[in-house]
């Protein structure tokens, strides 16, 4: 049995496409078996909603009548510094940027971080205006030296999110072996294994469902914070060579994707600025990737369950920050993580997550509806991600 993207798109256009979410497909496969289900199912939708720090936005700001070269000068948006080392009117705001000496970001211990790049992005997506302050040295062609103006999308030619690393294929489970609480990008970790945090949608997460990148590659169209988005490139730190279980899923953080999409189509339902006490600000984004069921092996991959994927437990008091101390405290399945408690070093450790499974499920269902309604067509990638295992050898 084999199915092409063109055949799937023809079925989407005729309204006959059969779609399930990566959660629903588990039951379907259990009832019908791989062979029959693969004949019937065309697409399986995945989803995730989670903080993803390597996110940010490019803006091209319309020039005033007397023009200005922000490039080589500086720009801030609501006080948050933007990168201005580009052409005259292009800037980039990173999700984690925060202003110096800002009372919104008190830096006492553990410190509150209330406003940063992610908040600028959320404010703009919410339709608000933000205060641009720019400074330049002035040239013959760009004489204006200072600019202060409230700007929104109407005052920009372009606004797109360009996230260098999203959708990590698996992630560490963070714990604290020390005797004092620590504040990390994986939340507040109580001393002596007081709690554990994980951060993945597990069985719904896009790259867990296509572990060898057989269908997700450069140019793949995705659902991105409410907009049409695309995989622009392998994500930074993309590592296809992580150790894997026999079912193909990596046992440590592995593949990633860089995503791009038009901010004007996005909505704050699917994009939220977040504040980690004692750490900083970042952006939570929603991503949904449709997986075409090109053959039985692909269906086998997307029917993976939380009980069949494992994450490494890592000490964030010593090993993560310094590379010293106990390297690996064990492995736990996502089923165990989602039960609310895991067992480490003879201790029951309560678990929590920063990735929202409720919203991951909502993303997968939303994407399923878009496809069923004929509003989302699948794409053949233009180039594979590094380490992609194409064809049959994936399961051999």
């Amino acid at each position: 049995m084999a199915r092409t993207i063109e055949e799937i798109n023809a079925k989407i256009r005729s309204g006959k496409v059969v779609v399930f979410t990566a959660e629903e497909i588990i039951d379907v496969v259990q009832k019908k078996g791989i062979k029959q289900a693969a004949r019937e199912v065309d697409v399986v939708t995945t989803g995730t909603f989670s903080p993803m720090c390597s996110s940010g936005a490019f803006f091209n700001i319309k020039q005033p009548r007397e023009k200005m070269k922000l490039g080589g000068g500086f720009a801030t948006l609501n006080g948050v510094p933007a990168y201005a080392g580009l052409a005259a009117a292009d800037i980039y705001v990173g999700a984690t940027a925060i202003p110096d000496g800002d009372p919104r970001n008190s830096n006492g211990r553990p410190g509150k971080y209330r406003y940063g790049g992610a908040h600028v992005i959320e404010d703009l997506v919410a339709g608000k205006k933000v205060l641009l302050k720019g400074g330049a040295y002035g040239t013959d062609c760009y004489p204006l030296k200072t600019r202060e103006q409230m700007i929104g999308f109407d005052d920009m030619n372009d606004a797109f999110l360009f996230n260098p690393r999203n959708c990590y294929q698996n992630y560490n489970v963070a714990v604290n072996l020390s005797d004092k609480p620590i504040y990390t990008y994986m939340g507040k970790l109580k001393p002596k294994l007081g709690n554990a945090y994980y951060c993945s949608a597990g069985q719904l997460s896009p790259l867990f469902n296509d572990p060898y990148f057989r269908t997700i590659g450069i140019g793949t169209r995705v659902f991105f914070c409410g907009a049409e988005g695309f995989v622009a490139w392998p994500g930074t730190q993309h590592n296809p060579n992580a150790p894997r279980l026999p079912n193909g899923t990596p046992q440590t953080p592995a593949g990633t994707v860089a995503l791009i999409g038009d901010m004007r189509q996005m909505s704050t339902e699917w994009l939220r600025a977040v504040s980690f006490t004692g750490y900083g600000v970042t952006l939570s984004v929603a991503v949904g990737v449709p997986i075409p069921i090109i053959d039985e092996d692909m269906l086998h991959s997307v029917s993976v369950t939380d009980a069949q994927i494992k994450a490494p437990v890592v000490d964030y008091s010593k090993f993560y920050p310094t590379g010293q101390g106990e390297a690996k405290l064990g492995e736990v399945t996502y089923k165990e993580l989602k039960s609310g408690s895991i067992h480490i070093k003879d201790q029951d450790v309560p678990t929590g997550s920063f990735s929202s499974y409720a919203l991951a499920r909502k993303v997968a269902h939303h994407l399923k509806k878009l496809i069923k309604d004929g509003d989302f067509l699948l794409t053949q990638f233009q180039a594979p991600l590094p380490g992609a295992v194409l064809g049959k050898e994936a399961t051999e």
């Binding site: 909603f49 977040v274 929590g352």
Partner: protein
């Protein structure tokens, strides 16, 4: 060093006494006024945070009682803002009384105010601003 948030209610006859001055100068207490509504000739109300050593605080509170100030702890109430909550469950392992809990089928986080002891852990843990504390000044 101990800290407490209190509500002072003054009868009208002592509204004009400099009681914060006395708490600071005579008892060595640090007084942070969070909210105050004081009009000469009327009953006054003030919300304060006091910090000091146990002995200083108890002597200061005795003084307030002596001059007729009604002192009561500041009532705080935690609210779960469901429209901001993503159901991520970050708050759940930090809640000491399971006032915050998650249904592991629907992945909806629920909040039971009856179980809440206002420890404020959830405010520190929630990254989505879905928990808020309301101070009741009544």
């Amino acid at each position: 060093m101990k800290q407490m948030k209190l509500v002072f209610i003054f009868p009208e006859n002592i509204v004009e006494d400099p009681i914060t001055y006395h708490l600071i100068a005579d008892y060595g207490i640090r007084v942070n006024i969070l909210r105050a509504s004081i009009d000469p000739g009327k009953q006054g109300r003030m919300v304060v945070e006091l910090s000091g050593e146990e002995i200083q605080l108890s002597q200061g509170l005795n003084y307030l009682e002596r001059i007729g100030v009604l002192v009561s702890p500041l009532a705080q109430k935690i609210r779960h803002l469901e429209d901001r909550c993503t159901g991520c469950t970050a708050c759940v392992p930090h809640c000491p009384t399971q006032a915050l809990d998650v249904d592991r089928e629907s992945w909806e986080v629920s909040f039971d105010p009856e179980k809440c002891i206002v420890c404020l852990s959830c405010l520190e843990t929630c990254i989505y601003y879905a928990m808020s504390v309301e101070e009741q000044f009544a």
